[in-house]
Symmetry: D3
Subunit: 290 residues, 6 copies
C-alpha cells in the first residue's frame, strides 16, 4: 500500500479545508496540541503546515502533496505541480485578491506615485516583481501581520490579501490595484506526481473535493411536465448540463431531474411554474460529479 | 429596474422570518446596530420595522410590502392588500391566538362577568371591539408588555397572544375565550400592488416563501413496487398530490416518488412495507411548489 | 387506544437515543427537572429510567418496553423479549465491549493470573460468571464509576465498558480480554409482547428506528449511464441491494438510483466516473427501509 | 411585619438593577417564565413591571415603590415621591438623554425647522411639551421601538434615548437638541411614603443601593507616611472625605486609609510616591457610606 | 518529605470542592480523561474517587484522607476519623437532608404506613436502619439514580437527598420525614491520623479550607466613630468577635474594623449610620481565621 | 498636552497585556476590525503592532513606546531604551524560554551534534548567534509558526519559545539547551525618552503596570496580636517589607497589616495561628507600590 503524505494548511484556510475534506468523505481529527492530525484513511498521512511554507516542503519532497494558496506558490517560486484549483478561501467560495492599498486620504493615486515609498506586505517577492513591472523603486518591508493598520503611520502603502474588502474599508484604506488573484490549489511534488499510486490517490482526493465544492452551491430540482410543455420548461433551465428526462407511467408526462445553482432558484422556480411544470421539488446535494 | 421596499418584522417574528427568507433563497444580513439590513437582491430594499407599525407604513406607502401579523392589520384598520398567509409564528409553524384570560382562581367565568373590570392588553382596539360585540362595559388599559403578570394585582383580566399556552399556565392564568386567531401575512400597499413589476416581485417572494414553508414539514419518499402491488401501495399514500410513477428497466416494477407530511411518515412507512413496497427511502427537501 | 409505556435510558445512552427517536419521527421533550418526558404520540408514555434498571422494570411490567444495553439484560438475568438490536452507543454507531483490563505495567498477563486479586466493576454478576468460566477465584467489588482510575492503587484489575478504548489508553490500562460485547437493544415485557396492539406499536417503533439508523451511515447516489456501459457501472456498485434502473427519454441512456454506505463513496465515485457514468449526484437520506 | 411591594423594571434597566440589588445585599431570583421574582427578604414582594408603566402603578398604590426612569415619571405626570436618584442606566453609571435627532444630511437645523414635520418617539407627551415650549407645530407619532431607523424614510425627526450616542451615529443621525436628561429613580407611593415601616424599609434599600453604587467606581487606598511628610501626602489626596489617619507603633510614622475614585488612581499614585508615601496598597470595596 | 494521599470527591461535590480548594490556596488541575488531578503542592497526591467509595478507601488505607459526605461514612460503617465538618454541598453552603418522600397524593402519611411497601434509594443501609428504628417491614431496592421519578409507578416511597427541596417539588413528591442530615466531611485513615507529618498536613488543609468557607459568607467593615459614640456603635455590631478598635491621629476619634456576616450588612449598616458612624466601608475577604 | 504613541502587542501577548492595562487603570477597547484601539486617556494613542515588529517601529520613532518581548529586541538589534521588565507572558506571570529542541528519539544529544543540520525557528538571528557561539555550522530556516511539528519530518531541530514545556512534550520533543530567557519589556524610543513629558507619562504607566503585577500574586493580611507575642508573630512573616503595626484601643494589643505572596499564605497562616495571632484576615488587593 502506498502512502500519500498530505499537507493541510494551518491558519486561515484550516477550518474551511477540514470542513471541505469532511464533506468530501475524509474525517480529519485534530488533537489539541499535536500538529499531526488523524485521518480515517490508512493511505494518507496528514501534517498541519502553514500555507506559506507548504510549497517549500512539497517541492523538497518532505510532503507528497499539499493544499495551499496559489499566491504562496508564486511567492516562493516553488517548482511543484498544481493539480487543481479549488474555489474557496477562508470565508467564501471564491478567489482572494492581493491588492495594493493606501490610506483613504493619501495623495498616492497610481502605482508610479509609489516611487521612494515604504510598502509593508507579507508577500515581499510578489510585491517586488509587481513594482519592477511598473518600473517603480520603493522599499518593501516584510510585515508579520496586522498590515492594514500600518498606513499611514508605519508605511505609505501595503499589499494585502482581501476576500470582501471589508477589513480594508474598516481601516479606511483605498485600493489602488490588484497585484495578484489567487485561489486555493492542490499541489504535488513533481516526483510523487509520477508515482502512479500516489497520483491516483491524489486524483481521487481532487475529484471528491471538487465534487463537494460543486455541491455546496447547487441543489437538485425535480419536476413533472406534460410532454407538450417540455420544450418550454427546458428553455427555462440553465444549460449547465442536460437534465435527466424520464418516462412516467402516464405516457403524457415526463419527469425532469436536474442540478442548478442555488442562487438562481428564486428566479427559475417562478418561471418553471409559469411554464406549467408541476410537483416542483428542490432537494439538497452532498456531491456532484458531472 | 424596479425596487421593492420590504418591511421585515423586528422583534418576536424576526428570527423566524430571517430563517424562512434564507431557506427561500434570500440572505438578509443584520449589522449590529443598523436597522437597514443588507439583502442579496438588488431589487429589494429591506427595513426592520416593528410588526405593530408595519400596517401603518405599508398603508402610507412608506413601504411597498411587509411581513407582519394579521392581528396588527386588524388592530390598526390599515387598508392594505393581504397577498398571502404564512403558517408560522415565533416558535411554531402554526397560528397564534389572542385570548382573554383571568387568574386561575378568579370569579370571572365568562365575558359578561367583565362588566366594570380593568383589562390590560397590547391590542386595545381589538379588545374594545370584542367587548362591544359582547355588550360589556370595561376599562381597557394599554400594556407595554409583561401583560401576563398583571392579573390579579394590576388588572382583572388580560387579552394576550399565545402560541402554546405555556406562558399563561406558568403564570397561573385561565383562558376564557379566544378573541382573535392570527397568522403571519404578507401585506402590500394598494398602489404598489397594481405596479406590475413590484407585484411580480412580491408574487415571486410569496411563491418561494411558501415553497420553503411547505418543505419544512414534508419529506420526499421513493420506493419500488411490483406493478401488481401498485394499487395497494397507492392506497396507503395520502392524497395530497398524485405520486410520480416511473417505469423501471425491469418492466414488472415501477418506481414511486412522492411528497408527504413528515408527521405521518411513522404511520405510512410500516403500511408501505406491509403493502410490499421495497427500497423505501425518505429524503429531505428544500422547497416544494406543487 | 392502547398505550405503550416506554422506558428511555437516562445517562450515557440518553442523548443518542433522543436524537435517534427524533430522526425516526418522534419528538421527545425533556423538562428540566422532570423524568417524565413529553412525546408527540398519544399512544406512548415515556419514562426516563437508568439503563441498569430498565430490564428489572420491563420484566416486572412496570414498563411495557424499553431501550437499554444488552449488557444490563445479561447482568440482571431479566426475563424479557429482545425485539431488536440497534447498532449505536454513546458516541458511535457500533457495539461496545466490556473488557478486563489491568495497569500497563501489571504482571497480570492472562485471566488465570487474577487468582486472589481484587477486581472493580459495575457489572459484578457478569464478571463473576466470567471468572467462574475461567475457574478463577477473585474478589469482585462493585464500583460506582470512575473505575478506570482504580488500578493499580485501589484494585488489581477492572472490568469496564469501552467504545474506542481511548479512555483506557489515557489511564494507561492494558486490555487482557473481552468479557462481553453489547449493543443497544429494544426489550419488551413478555406479556405486553403478546398484546397485539402493543406489539404492533413496538414493531413500528423498531422499524422506524432501524430506518433512521440505516440512513445515518448511507447516502443516495443517482447517475446516468449509456445502456452499453451499464454492466460496467453495475459491477462497481456494492451488492447491498439492487439499484433502481429507470428508462430515460433518450432510450440509449438509463438512470441508476441506489443507496450506498457513505464510507465507501470516496472509493466508488472515481470508479463510477472511470466506468463512464455521468451526472453523478450524491444526496442525503432520512430513513431507509430496504 | 410590614411588606413593601417593590416594582423592578423589566427590560433595558432590568439586568443593571438586579446586579445592583445583588451588590447591595438582596438576591433576586428570576424564574424562566414568571414575572414574580423571588427575593431573599421576607419584608419585600417583587414584581417585574415595564419602566414605562411603573409610575402609573406606584401612583395608584398597586405597588408601594419602584425603580424606574425619571423620564417615565415626567411622561406619565404620575404623582409619586422620588426618594432618590441613582446614577446608572442600561450600560453605564451615568444619566441618559432624550435627544431630538434628524438624518445627518437633513435640512432641519434647529427646533423651529420642525414646523409641520412628523416626529416619531416613545415619549409622545414629553415631545409635545418640548414642541409647545418652542412654539412649533408638528405631528408626534408613537413609536413602538426601532425609532432610529425611521428617519428619513418613515419620519422627519425622532426623539430618542441615548447613553453614548453610538446607536445614533451608527444610524447616521445628527443630534439637534437635548429634550430631557434622565436617570434611574426610586419612586414611592405618596401614602406608602407616610407609613413609617414602609418608609424605613425604602430608606434602607436606598441607602444600601447608594452604598453599592458609590463603591462601584471607588477603591480603598492605604499607605504609610512619615509624620513630617504627611502634609505633602494629604495635599495630593482628593478632598472627597477626610482620610483616616492612625498612629503606628513607630511614632514617627502614621498610616493613611482613604477612599478615592478609581479613575484618578493612575494620577494620584505616582504623586503619592513622589511625596514619599510608602507601602501604598489599593484594595477593592463592596459598599461605601460616607 | 511526607506525602498525603488525598481523595477528591468525583461527581456532585466535585466542582464545589475544587473551587473551595482554589480559594484555600491549592490549585487542582483536571486533565480531560485522567482521574489523577495535578495539585500545586509536592506534599499531596490527589485521586478523584466517588464520594460513595471514599470511606471504603480511606478506611483501607488506600488513601490517607478524603473529602466526602458524612452520609457515606454512615452508610458504609467505615471506621475513619472525621477531622472536620465543612458546611457546603453541591449548590449551597449548608447541610443536605436525606428525606423519606412519597407521591403528593399518596395515602402514606407516616413511616408506619410503609409496612410492606417498596422503597427505592441509593442508601440501602441507612434506610434499612431507619425502618428498623420505626419497627417497619418494607422492601428497600437499590436505585442507580433518578430516584425521584420512581414514585408512584416504580416504587411506593423513596429515600433521597435534597438541598432545597425543589427537585422533590418538581416531581410532585411530599416529604414524610428526615432520615439523616449530612454535610461534607474531611475524613482520615486512623493510622495516617497518628502519623505526625500527615496529621499536620491534614490539619493545615482543614484550617485553610475552613478559613475560605468562613470568608465566603462574610465581609470586612471599617468605620470611624467619635469616642463618645463608640458604645452605641459597638452595640449595633454582632458579637461574633470583638472588633479591632484603633486610635486615630485625631484623638477624639477611633477606627473600628470588624468582620460580619454578609447577610446582615443590610440590617447593620443603616443602624451604624444612625449611631453616627462615619466613613463606613465594606470590603471583600479571602480567608478568615478568628 | 503631550501625546504618547504606544504600541500594544498584537497576538500572543495581546490578551494578557490588555488585561494588565485594565487592572493598572487604563481601559483599552478593541473594535472588531480596526487595529487602532480606543483608550480612555487623552494623553495616549494606541496602535496594535506585532511584538516582532515593535522594536523596529519604536526605534524609528513611528511609536514613542511599546510593550513587547525582550527576545524581539535582541533579534532585531533595535536601539531602544528598555524602561522596565514585566514578569508576565501569554499564560503565566513568569519568563519564557527559547529552547533548542529535537525529537525525543533523535541521536542529537548536544549543540555540537547539530553540525550540518537544518534548524527551523522564528528567531533566525538569535539562533545564528547561538550557533556561532558554539562554533557549529548549521542551516537555519525561517519558520512561519507550527514549528514544533517540523521535527523530524521537516527539520532536524528547532529553536522555539515555551512557557511550561507542555506543547513540546505533547509533540514528543526533547529540550537540549536554553538559547535565551525573555520576558515582556516596556521599550521607549531614545529621543522620546528624553522628552520630559513623554518620559513622565511612560514612567507613570510603568509604575501602575508594576503595581498591578505586584498585586496579582499578593494578598493583604491583617491580624491582631498581644504585644508580648509580637516578636514571635513577626518572625513568621516573610521579610518582603516591614509590616504596618498600629496601636489598638486596648494597649496590650497591636494590629499588624502586611502584604504577602498568595502562594505562601497556606504555609504562613497555620504558623501565625500557632504564634497566637488572632482575627487573621486575608483580603484581595488591586495594586501595590511598596
Amino acid at each position: 500500500m502506498s502512502l500519500l503524505r498530505l499537507g493541510i494548511p494551518k491558519g486561515s484556510l484550516q477550518e474551511a479545508t477540514l470542513d471541505l475534506l469532511s464533506r468530501a468523505g475524509w474525517k480529519v481529527t485534530l488533537s489539541s496540541r499535536s500538529y499531526v492530525p488523524a485521518i480515517d484513511d490508512a493511505e494518507i498521512n496528514c501534517l498541519l503546515v502553514r500555507a506559506q511554507e507548504m510549497p517549500r516542503y512539497v517541492e523538497s519532497g518532505a510532503l507528497d502533496a499539499g493544499i495551499t494558496g496559489h499566491d504562496w506558490v508564486v511567492e516562493t517560486h516553488a517548482d511543484v505541480v498544481e493539480l487543481a484549483e479549488f474555489l474557496y478561501a477562508k470565508q467564501r467560495l471564491a478567489r482572494v485578491k492581493w491588492v495594493l492599498a493606501v490610506s483613504e486620504d493619501s495623495s498616492i493615486r497610481e502605482p508610479r506615485d509609489l516611487e521612494g515609498a515604504v510598502i509593508a506586505t507579507e508577500v515581499v517577492g510578489i510585491t517586488a516583481e509587481y513594482l519592477a513591472r511598473h518600473g517603480v523603486n520603493a522599499r518593501v518591508e516584510f510585515s508579520w501581520g496586522a498590515t492594514e493598520v500600518k498606513v499611514p503611520q508605519l508605511a505609505d502603502a501595503i499589499v494585502e490579501v482581501t476576500e470582501t474588502g471589508s477589513s480594508l474599508r474598516a481601516n479606511h484604506l483605498r485600493i489602488l490595484d490588484t497585484v495578484l488573484e489567487s485561489s486555493t490549489v492542490f499541489i504535488m511534488n513533481r516526483k510523487a506526481a509520477e508515482d502512479p499510486a500516489k497520483r491516483e490517490k491524489a486524483d481521487n482526493l481532487v475529484l471528491m473535493l471538487q465534487g463537494a465544492i460543486a455541491a455546496a452551491t447547487r441543489v437538485g430540482l425535480m419536476l413533472n411536465v406534460r410532454r407538450d410543455d417540455l420544450p418550454t420548461v427546458l428553455a427555462v433551465l440553465p444549460a449547465l448540463k442536460n437534465p435527466t428526462i424520464s418516462a412516467l407511467s402516464d405516457s403524457d408526462w415526463v419527469a425532469v431531474n436536474t442540478i442548478i445553482e442555488e442562487a438562481v432558484v428564486r428566479q427559475i422556480l417562478p418561471r418553471l411554474k409559469a411554464a406549467k411544470a408541476q410537483g416542483i421539488v428542490e432537494y439538497p446535494l452532498n456531491k456532484i460529479v458531472l
